[in-house]
Symmetry: C2
Subunit: 341 residues, 2 copies
DNA sequence: CTGTTAGCGCCTTCAT
DNA sequence: ATGAAGGCGCTAACAG
């Protein structure tokens, strides 16, 4: 198949100047009053020789790469997977490509990634930040790269974000426990310090206090959003002289780990212990005991985040910083047992 | 924070020529016998002004972008999510970034994506191809972009690939059904024509034939790898005068759909119907009935694929095309019931 | 209506 | 041991 790799060659084949070809190809034929005939010939020949412009060269010249950096703590987690999917599809519709980075929920990695994306001259960044500290991300924004935060937000910054209302989700879940008679409720958290985590913990605390149930600090435990953490913390709970009647697991992976530990100990949900998990998943309804979960609007998070970023890039909303908080939904199933008082 | 955005500025601050600075920064100080003192000053000043080269300009000049295109049929599926994760991490270790594309398992989208990646001058492409037809991918390779196929392979091409031995996986699963007395086994497939799918179907067929069980074509059904397909096909099966005693679901999502239909119909696994699913997942063990699955070595697929691609890019293995097939593992749980003959 | 040319930031050949 | 300058492919300002 004949093919041509730069506009110069194509122009010489066409016996036209480079600029004319460039103009036609960029849809500026009309405004430069280039004849229909010429235009058509350019398009046809470009197609014939399978030519379309080198995006790298274009990026250098225009200082615009049509590229978005996406930093995710764990792309293997289907929660982030579906957010990534929505973002990728939306981006493509708008002519953008995604550079995917997995921060492994590690702050140093994240900081490096941010620098890397800056050097790659992405037009914007969507990030589910890992950390408590936020300097490295505000710095990037100050360098002039639009940043959109998702899933979590960065306290004491003015970065625009789209998240679930994590506080509300946790409040709903905890109050559900309480309504069914639970008083001794453990909370297995993810990374302490991450806003999504801390808002959830806060919702848990406030729900207890609202109902005059003392908060036991030892019942708030855990180190990260992974399965192993859920497993380990649950084992700790079961080793207690009197274990809690309920577990609030702050991520889909944590609850899976909990289930593993429970099963291993020969305990049954909800008869021996009740559980609610943050983050609805395709399998939640089909577990040994169908799980009551807090559903997050994943697609919407992705869609809104990209839309907002695009607006910033296109300067549609000059200075408006979007801070969007989406409603979660408590999906009731069978993993919480009614307890007699 | 002081900062400098191009090598020219940096050079003028340093009172050195651009070339000297470039050389030092690219680690060629020694071979050009640039003095230690000068080198150190260059490094220090670069750090002080937070300078590092513009990757777009570099890419244009060197005709190397340190970028890999990754085309995945569905990044929200955790099977592909974890493959993507491994690839991203491996790539980064080697200085590459990933441009992520979700083909939606659609051939036209895939073809467009391939063209796009070519225009973005990626150094290589890793693709889990959607289709039966393979022209668009071999074309890309002929344009000089190294291509590595994963998860599936493209028949009648010579493209290097890394997959699970899907045939073996299906054989093991089907023989397990047979060993426990099943004769009437349905097979809910994904996309007909995709190698991963067809190899599995072939394994299923061969296992039956090996044991002199007639293959009923109506028992091989289904349209894609999604949850809804599993649901729909299972409903069809249940509407039959006499439904099969076992279902072989060819993906993790299909089996979830099957479970949904079964549950809806008030049927129990494995008492009313047995099931084996392709693709082990974190939740497989914790379903109402712990699921017997065929595990694929996801991390290894990603790691080997990237490694092989890197070898091709670096021309380490001049012409050797890697065709790697990894062993699956049948994980026995409780979703298959022993049937009396 | 079309063409010439500068320059985006970088690396590297050639020159000294 | 260091510098000057061309050119990667593209777009747009300027010039007809």
């Amino acid at each position: 198949m004949k093919s041509v790799n730069n506009i110069k060659e194509l122009a010489s084949i066409l016996n036209l100047s480079i600029s004319t070809v460039s103009r036609v190809l960029n849809g500026k034929g009309k405004s430069f009053r280039i004849s229909e005939a010429t235009s058509k010939k350019v398009f046809d020949t470009a197609k014939e020789y399978n030519y379309s412009p080198n995006r790298v060269a274009r990026g250098l010249k225009l200082e615009k790469t049509d590229t978005i950096g996406l930093i995710i703590p764990d792309i293997a987690n289907p929660y982030f997977g579906s957010i990534a999917k929505t973002i990728e599809v939306e981006a493509r519709k708008n002519g953008y490509s995604i550079i995917l980075c997995d921060s492994l929920d590690d702050e140093n990695t994240e900081a490096e990634l941010l620098q890397l994306l800056a050097k790659r001259k992405v037009d914007g960044i969507i990030i589910a930040p890992t950390g408590k500290s936020s300097n490295h991300v505000t710095e990037i924004q100050e360098q002039g790269i639009p940043v959109m935060v998702i899933d979590r937000y960065l306290p004491d910054t003015n970065l625009p974000f789209v998240t679930t209302d994590n506080y509300l989700g946790a409040l709903l879940a905890t109050e559900h426990f309480i309504a069914l008679g639970h008083r001794n409720i453990a909370c297995i958290q993810g990374i302490n310090g991450v806003s999504a985590n801390n808002e959830r913990v806060k919702g848990y605390r406030d729900a207890l206090q609202k109902h005059r149930i003392p908060v036991s600090e030892t019942m708030i435990m855990g180190t990260d959003f992974g399965e192993e953490n859920g497993y380990l913390q649950t084992r700790k709970l079961l080793a207690l002289p009197e274990h809690p009647t309920a577990i609030f697991a702050l991520s889909n992976l944590i609850s899976l780990g909990s289930i593993r530990a429970l099963k291993e100990a020969g305990l049954t949900i909800p008869d021996d212990i009740s559980i609610i998990s943050f983050d609805e998943q395709a399998w939640s309804a089909f577990l040994t005991c169908p799980m009551t979960t807090v559903e997050q609007p994943r697609e919407e998070i992705g869609r809104l985040a990209f839309g907002a970023l695009l607006n910033i890039i296109d300067k549609v909303l000059p200075e408006k910083t979007d801070k969007i908080m989406l409603q979660p939904r408590l999906i009731l199933r069978e993993s919480v047992k009614k307890i007699l008082k």
